[in-house]
Amino acid sequence: MSTASKPSASPAASSLTQPVNGQKADRVFRGVAYACGILILVTLAAVALFLLFRAWPLIGGDQQANSAVIENFTGGKAKSFWGYVGPLLFGTVLVAALALVLAFFVSIGIALFISHYAPKRLAAVLSYIVDILAAIPSVIYGLWGGLVLVPAIYPFWNWIAEYLGWIPLFAGPAANPPRTVATVALVLAIMILPIITSIARDIFLQTPKLLEEAALGLGATKWEMIKLSVLPFGKSGVISASMLGLGRALGETMAVLMILSPGLKYSFKLLQASQNQTIAANIAAQYPEADGIGVSVLIGTGLVLFVITFLVNLLARRITEKAGK
């Protein structure tokens, strides 16, 4: 607009007959916007391609050198890449799934509390608190988990191992210090809690008021109203929220790295140390000492993690999209 007013200082005729030269800027702007849109596609493709390229020595390179490196990583336990990534993948999924199980009901509870139980003013404060929980960096959760939670929670795990030890999951003796899958899953649950909560809360708040009032009008108690109208309405949103939480838990590095005592077993013994390790934490732990082929191996495991989180996220978004229609 500033350029448009400039010609008016000169004879007015020129500004009327000559169109303001915005056409070029228009095209350039449009081109830049288009390029930025395309860049998203290119970036995602580049992530996959660059990782694949760097991990290529695993497939096309000297297999003997590969297995030597993997043997070096694992202390001779695994020789092939899949033998190496298998237990890691198992550990990753185990920890993430446990975290999801722990976080799911609590976050649904909090979401319901914020959306339907708390008074309005309190609800705003509570939403803010949940957001703070999401904003705390993972390294601080790791620090807190490693130095505060680990010593504090040992009596509890010990109690569980003693009284519920007959369940294979809780087979004792509980490790002390409990740098175990159970503790890590607890910390990850705290970290994914705000993600699930905030999405579930938004969905619950969108429940049509008419449905709720109809349920209450028929004499339903508050819980029955929630069970009849809110939960069915929010079902798909809750599912996709938990998938997103799962995706976050799958890729979490620092908390696992700082708390877990790693191992490479297909083991469900949650309360014992040195059983499992996750892909992300393994990369961060091995990276500083890895040589050329070692880095390729680690990037290969990173690629596996990328593919899995990509699929989980894609599935979650598909569910939300379908529900949105």
Binding site: R30, L44, V47, I136, I140, T221, G251, A284, N313
Partner: protein
């Protein structure tokens, strides 16, 4: 309900008389009502309990960071880097090392990530909302932006590392590489918040501007983006708050040094989260038997807590600013 019909018809000798319904039959028993009420109260208690359970870790994290962080937090800690730090001995300045280099590194790397991702993110959102408007490509990009926001941070780090290894040379570690990794995590957030803001800009404004003969580019930059500015700014600040605490990608891309490096494009750089992690993994400092009385073996952990406190304060302040910007400058609702 269907059971009322037989009883109703059985008791109507004439058409005029109202059907007599045995309402007592539908009366819930006292125990049934009580059970429903009990269940309602139980669920209410569970839901409130869930909330309290979630508060415990939050309070514990904030409290321990505050208490333990204050122990070593002073100007000396903020104004020095980790050079001349030997074991648990105090440095010549009287402190025990500090986080100056980490603060500088954090600011520069985050600034770099900001400069990359905010323009790209905003323009991508402009394309999605203003130009593409629901085409197949736009929907694909929208979906992929969502998916991209779920990329594990360590994969972003691996990507930046691989990219620089291929484009620049193997084993490259510098601050800008960290910025690239962080922007991969930041772009989706910026795109999403900007999209949300552009969606709520009233169409009347666009149409009024276009009807005056203003070109589309000027309509977008002078009318649409200006209206949505507060939302974009607050969204960007929240995105910064999210990436400023990232550790794993920087561990891989930016490396770790003890001295101050202000050059974003050359040499390794330390950031606050990485500093916290490195101090944590040191566990204990050496204090030889003949060390001075000022030697503290637990100093790495104390430094880690203090750095964590600084980090938390930065993140929370950024969050607060983002929210205030969003609230104060939000477009007025009619």
């Amino acid at each position: 309900m269907t059971q009322t019909n037989p009883t109703g018809t059985a008791h109507t000798p004439t058409a005029d008389a109202a059907p007599v319904i045995d309402f007592d039959k539908f009366k819930p028993t006292r125990s049934y009502t009580a059970a429903r009420k009990r269940k309602d109260i139980a669920m209410r208690a569970l839901i409130i309990l869930a909330f309290i359970v979630a508060l415990i870790p939050l309070i514990s994290v904030l409290w321990t960071t505050l208490v333990r962080g204050f122990r070593r937090l002073n100007w000396d800690f903020l104004g020095h880097n980790m050079t001349n730090v030997i074991g648990g001995n105090p440095t010549p300045s009287g402190g025990y090392g500090g986080i100056l280099h980490a603060i500088i590194g954090t600011l520069e790397i985050t600034l770099g990530a900001m400069l990359i991702s905010i323009p790209i993110g905003v323009m991508c959102a402009v394309y999605l909302i203003e130009y593409a408007g629901g085409s197949k490509l736009a929907r694909t990009i929208h979906l992929l932006v969502d998916v991209m926001s779920g990329i594990p941070s360590i994969v972003a780090g691996l990507f930046a590392y691989s990219m620089f290894a291929i484009l620049v040379g193997p084993g490259t570690l510098n601050g800008f590489e960290g910025s690239v990794a962080l922007s991969l995590l930041m772009i989706p957030t910026v795109v999403k918040t900007t999209e949300e803001m552009l969606k709520i800009v009233p169409n009347d404004l666009r149409e009024a501007s276009l009807a005056l003969g203003v070109t589309k580019q000027r309509t977008i930059t002078k009318v649409v983006l200006r209206t949505a500015l507060s939302g974009i700014v607050s969204g960007s600040i929240l995105a910064i708050a999210r990436v400023i605490g990232e550790t794993a990608p920087l561990l891989i891309t930016a490396g770790y040094i003890v001295s101050t490096n202000a050059n974003l494009f050359g040499g390794e750089m330390t950031t606050l989260p990485v500093y916290v992690y490195q101090e944590y993994s040191k566990y204990r400092a050496n204090c030889p038997a003949d060390a001075a009385s000022g030697c503290v073996t637990t100093i790495p952990m104390e430094r880690a807590w203090s750095a964590a406190l600084v980090l938390i304060v930065i993140v929370l302040v950024l969050n607060l600013i983002g929210r205030i910007v969003a609230k104060v400058f939000a477009p007025k609702k009619k």
